[in-house]
Structures are given as C-alpha cells and as structure tokens.
C-alpha cells in the first residue's frame, strides 16, 4: 500500500528522466547531454575512487569538504552575529529606531554586488568567501530574531518578573526560547542562501571548491561536467535542507505540540 502510494506520487520522475534521455539522444545537441552521459561524467569526476575511501575521488575529497566547510563557517558566524544583534534590537526599541534604516539598506544590497569589494579587501581565499556568505545571509536571521524577541508574550515576561528571574535567566529561559520558532525560520532561509553565495563566491574568486569545478568545466566546454556539477549542487541543497528540517523538528517539538492543542 505504501509502495503504491509512493508510486502514485513519484511516477512522473522516471517518465521525465526517460523523456529527457530520449529527447537529448534524438537531438544530439552538445549543450544538452543525455542524463546517462551526465551520470557517467559525475561518476568519473567524484565517485570512481578506491573503495576504502567510499569511492570518492581526489577531486571530490578536495573540493566538496572545502566548499561545505566554508558554507558552514559562514552560516555559523551569521547565525551567532545575527541572533545576538537581532535579540538586542528586538529588546531595545530605541536602539532599533536608530539602526533600522541601516539594516533596511544593508539587506537591500544584492550580496553579489559586494563581491568585488571583498575581493579587493581580502584577496582570493577562504576569508573572502566566508565574509561574502556571512554578510549576505545574516539579514533573514537578524530580522527574524529581532521580530521574535520583540513579540514575546507579555504574560511570559510578567511571569518572569513576578518570580524574580535575573536578566540572563530571562534571556536564556524566556526570550530566546520564545523567539526560537522565528529564528529557525530565518536560519533555514539563510542556509539555502548560503549555498547560493558559496557557489557565486567560488565562481568569482577561488582556486578550489565545487563552484570552481563548475567554472573549470564550463571553461573547458565540458558540458556533462557542468550539468553534473549542477546536479551535485542540487543534491547538496536538498540534503542541507532535509538535515535542517530534522534538527528543527527536534528542537521545536514543543512549538508544534503547543500549536496543535491551542
């Protein structure tokens, strides 16, 4: 039954794949290689290594962890800075009144427009990429954390006043948990943005990473390689999002429970 239902949902995927294969084979257009060719190229590029290294090639081991590492460092930095600043702004109406226009402006700058500036300031390398990622993805976290911290239930705050919680207890036990659902929404959005900025920063200024491989394939007119890299990036995006959803479900289990019953 479950199998049938999955079949009912997924039937189009093989149909699309076969149609794509047939159409590309018939067209024989170099720009549109058949999926089988793309998969073969992907296998050659990343998964034809020795068995003891999980079949990963040197290129895979050199580029994928580097890219993912930059992405995570940038994302973690943005998370920490964004949450701290956001909560400060959310809890201080005066501060946010002074800083709000700057934030509105900062988040309106298209992040890639900052790339040449960061290239000039930091030169090519991990530092420049991390700065690009962090500065580009911090806005959704900051704005969501601010929003969450601003709208803590008044009765929750009064309860903590009545029971004499200290400032730090109030922050860690009341304000942060209550802002958490909003913060997580921001974190999820910024994770997908981080992938985009990782790619563009590697396309513009890098000597390794998945984005660099993509550029390399494009420069050498290796079209199956270009398509294959895009597929790998799509899979990476899918995995990141799924992993995040699992973590969110665990951390915010109280939120779903509380919303279901009230």
């Amino acid at each position: 039954m479950r199998f049938l239902r999955a079949l009912g949902r997924l039937w189009l995927v093989p149909v699309v794949l076969v149609a794509w294969e047939v159409a590309t084979r018939a067209a024989e257009d170099v720009f549109f290689p058949p999926p089988t060719t793309i998969v073969a190229r992907m296998h050659e590029m990343w998964f034809s290594g020795p068995a003891e290294r999980l079949w990963l090639t040197d290129a895979a081991l050199e580029n994928i962890p580097t890219s993912v590492g930059r992405l995570f460092v940038g994302w973690l930095l943005a998370s920490v800075i964004g949450i701290v600043l956001g909560v400060m702004l959310g809890r201080s109406a005066l501060l946010s009144r002074f800083i709000d226009p700057l934030i509105q402006f900062g988040r309106a700058i298209p992040p890639p427009a900052l790339l040449p500036l960061f290239l000039a300031l930091f030169s090519i390398g991990a530092q420049m990429q991390i700065v690009t990622i962090t500065s580009g993805i911090i806005w959704p976290i900051l704005l969501n954390a601010g929003d969450g911290a601003r709208h803590v239930d008044r009765q929750h705050l009064e309860t903590s006043t009545v029971f004499g919680l200290s400032r730090s207890q109030r922050l860690f036990w009341v304000i942060l948990p209550s802002a958490m659902p909003k913060i997580f929404a921001g974190l999820r959005l910024s994770l997908s943005l981080a992938l985009i900025l990782m790619v563009i920063s590697e396309l513009v200024g890098s000597v390794n990473g998945i984005g660099f491989q993509l550029l390399d394939a494009q420069r050498s007119y290796d079209l199956p390689g270009v398509w294959g890299t895009i597929v790998v990036l799509g899979v990476l995006g899918y995995l990141l999002n799924s992993a995040f959803l699992v973590a969110e479900r665990r951390v915010l289990s109280w939120h779903r429970g509380a919303n279901r019953t009230t």
Binding site: Q155, E158, T159, T161, G164, L165, Q169, V174, P177, S178
Partner: protein, 260 residues
C-alpha cells in the same frame, strides 16, 4: 502584612483617560485569604498588578511587610488567569515549577525535590516530564499553582485563577486552594468576578465598585470549616452572605452613587 492606602491609577491622559482605581484602601493580615470581587472591568487586575509591582500606580501606596512596593517583592507569587500564556510551553512541567527556585540559590537536586513535592500537593504526582500543552486546562492551572507553592511566597496573588476552566474543574480547584492554604502559612489574595466563589473560598470578601474602583464592602465570612461544595453552599450563612455581596456588586452597577 499588606497595606494599601488611597491607591489610584489612571491609564493615559487627557479626555480619553481611563480612571481605573479611585482611591482603594485595604489591609490584609498575615495568613488571611481575602477575595476581591467586583463587576468586570472595574480595575481588579490593575489593583493586583500594582501589588505585584508590575505597574506603577499614579497615586497612593502599597506596603508589603512594612516595605513600600516599588519593584516586584521577593516573597510574592502570582497565579495568572491565562495559564497557557503563563506557563512556558518550551519547558517540561517539572522545569516550569523549578525555574523560579533558581534565584533562591537552590541546587539542582533540591529544586527538583521541591518541584516534585509541590506537584504532589496539587495532585499531579509524576507529571514532571510532561509538557504543559499535553495537560488539560485544569491541570495546567494546577501546575501554575504548584509553581507558586514551590516558591514558598509570603503572599500569593491569584488573578481570576479559575476563570478559564469548566465548572467541575473550577470546584476542584477551589477546594485545592482551601486545602493548600491550610498546609501553608501563606496570605492569599484572590481576585474573581464570581460572587459564589468569593464567599466559598474567602475568609473575607472585599467588594469593589465599578471603575474608578473604591472599596464598597468588606465582609467577614464565618463559615464552619472544613468547607465543602455541597453542605457549605447550603448553609444559611453562605446564602445570606452571597446575597449581600451580590447586592453590593449589583447595586453599584445600577447606581454608582448609592453606596459608600
């Protein structure tokens, strides 16, 4: 132990100002259970929030144990009407009860012990690991009573504590309050709009007029203990008191100038 003299409070200013309290005088002795009744919207909650230090009244003074209330006093606990917004949904029941004990300098095992004990007293033994939203409304209100008990306050304020539960649960919680009070040496101030409840639970019933509120009646309740829902409510004294409080509350509604 609690002294309120000539307390006034005005929300806003100018012609749109709302005069909530119009000079309230009240004295509560150690160990008393005082019920405050009044028509809805009369400023009962404003009075409670002034005592709890959550609001700065525009005039008059509140002193607790001889000290004027400026911030929230240390040995005071509040049971709010809206339990779902007063308990923290991200903490288990045990953690909710134990949280305020952190400031009392208790270590983790002792906090846990105190929480377990308080939960037993309200009839929720073994519920520590549950989350508030997994419990019924009445049980959640028990948790917030347990939180107040574990805190061992000298004064417990209850703001329409049974206003959001069904009739049966309400009676159970009224009896729970009476039982708890006989175990602890605690002064309790219970705010309600339910006349029956005020007479059934209180040692004293203080009646407020509609806004701007003043005290229009202060009746001693001399009902034989232990009270129970059936026989106490049949007692002629109960019936008489209920009628009197009712007249005071209602009389004020018809003609604000009649009493005082």
């Amino acid at each position: 132990m609690l002294e309120i003299s000539n307390l006034t409070h005005v929300y806003g200013s100018g012609p749109g100002a709302h005069h909530a309290l119009g000079g309230v005088d009240l004295k509560v002795a150690q160990g008393e259970l005082v019920c405050i009744v009044g028509p809805s919207g009369c400023g009962k909650s404003t009075l409670l929030r002034s005592i709890a230090g959550l609001l700065h009244p525009t005039g008059g003074t509140v002193t607790l144990g001889g000290k004027p209330v400026e911030r929230t006093p240390d040995d005071l606990a509040v049971v709010f009407q809206d339990y779902s917004r007063s308990l923290f949904p991200w903490m288990s029941v045990g953690d909710n009860v134990a949280l305020p004990l952190r400031r009392k300098g208790m270590d983790r095992p002792r906090r846990r012990e105190a929480a377990t004990e308080a939960l037993e007293q309200v009839g929720l033994a073994g519920a520590e690991g549950k989350y508030p939203w997994q419990l019924s409304g009445g049980m959640q209100q028990r948790v917030s009573i347990a939180r107040a008990l574990a805190y061992r306050p000298a004064l417990m304020l209850m703001d329409e504590p049974f206003g959001s539960v069904d009739a049966q649960t309400r009676e159970d919680l009224e009896d729970l309050t009476l039982r708890v009070r006989s175990h602890h040496d605690m002064t309790i101030l219970l705010i309600t709009h339910d006349i029956d409840e005020s007479v059934y639970v209180g040692d004293r019933v203080v009646v407020l007029s509609k806004a701007p509120a003043t005290v229009v009646g202060d009746l001693r309740v001399d009902l034989p203990g232990p009270r129970d829902q059936i026989t106490t409510r049949e007692n002629p004294e109960f019936v008489h008191l209920r009628a009197e409080v009712g007249r005071l509350v209602r009389g004020m509604r018809d003609d604000p100038g009649a009493a005082s």
